[in-house]
Amino acid sequence: MKPGDCALVAELCAARAGLNVDPEKTYLLESRLAPVARREGFGSIVDLVESLRARREERLVWAVVEAMAAGETSFFRDRLAFKQFSDEVLPVMARRREGRPIRIWSAGCGSGQEVYSLAINVAEKRGALSGAKVELFASDISERALEKAQSGLYTQFEVQRGLPIRQLVDHFEKVDEMWAISPNIRQMVRWRRVNLVADFSATGQFDVIFCRHVLSALVEPMRVKVLENLAGALAPDGFLFLSEGEIPDNGAKPLYAVAGRAGLYVRNPAARAAA
């Protein structure tokens, strides 16, 4: 790819999804775009980019943006966040909601490992939640990622990254060479395509939002915007899980960090004490 091709892809990714794609990383662009070029019937990545430049066909633009948006993920990635969710946040929300459903959102769910990890936590904690109903939602910008996530099928390599063996045998079945998440876990999750830099107020409010390793992939102005959007979607007494160091340089104005809980934020400072 020529520098101009890389710059065009970076520009499209920033404009459509706020993605921070470094045009200098030619190897990364080529490795992500080669499958798109093949799938879309182009002879090469250069032909794909030429077509983008000439026609800006939305479907093709989004195929490129989605390919560049794909990030690394694993089950129970950063185990401490899931422990805090399971041991502290979930019981607190169960008490506060008193029979109303606890709404949890995995924003930028990728291929589903994060939201299924949350579903496993909820299923294993069910007895301690005093009958509280939990609604799990998962979204991603990529249709292809959502398709894989909804299939609930993972390779042997994928299930060995982060997933303890007891949870593998308790919540998965082996199907040929793949591992399938059990139907009772898969059915706990509802899926939707959401672009976090666009207006997503229609998704409603959530008691817990996981949006980890997402902000760090965005250009700075969009990190601020997405953070404001997430704060707007968070219930006044809700909890937002980010990854460490993902808050923009100018701070998280609508949110307050929970002391001693790296990556955990609340809208209302009074809610911090309860975490």
Binding site: S74, R79, Q156, F157, Q160, R161, G162, P164, I165, R166, L168, V169, E173, K174
Partner: protein, 121 residues
């Protein structure tokens, strides 16, 4: 320094595992079958054991059952590392006292991730 006994009849696997485990701070001992591993453990219990299933003389599962009966044999964290990748083998290993289970092929990330789950990395 924590010690790990790598038990596998493949010299290549032992070498690969040794490199990965040394990189994350383990001191390594090696055995090529369950009987040899049992002799190692009777002399000095390691902190962790990376254990193959199918080996000559004594299999991994037989070794584990013997180990858990030995004085101090409840202490080592045992991680199976085997081509046996079906649920029945995994359950059999857990029932015999295994702490974690790796399905081959593996890489450094998988070994590190599994050892982290049992508090050893």
């Amino acid at each position: 320094m924590k010690t790990c006994l790598v038990v596998d009849d493949s010299r290549v696997i032992r070498k690969v595992a040794r490199r990965i485990l040394e990189d994350i701070g383990f001191e390594i001992a090696e055995a090529s079958d369950g009987m040899e591993a049992l002799a190692w453990c009777r002399a000095s219990m390691p902190d962790a054991i990376l254990l193959d299933w199918n080996m000559p003389v004594m299999s991994g599962i037989e070794f584990l059952r013997h180990l858990r009966q030995e004085p101090g044999g409840d202490k080592p964290t045992v991680v199976f590392c085997t081509v046996e990748a079906d649920v029945s083998h995994i359950r059999e290993a857990l029932d015999a006292g295994a702490d974690e289970y790796i399905m081959k092929p593996f890489d450094g990330d998988i070994i590190t991730s599994k050892l982290a789950e049992v508090g050893l990395a």
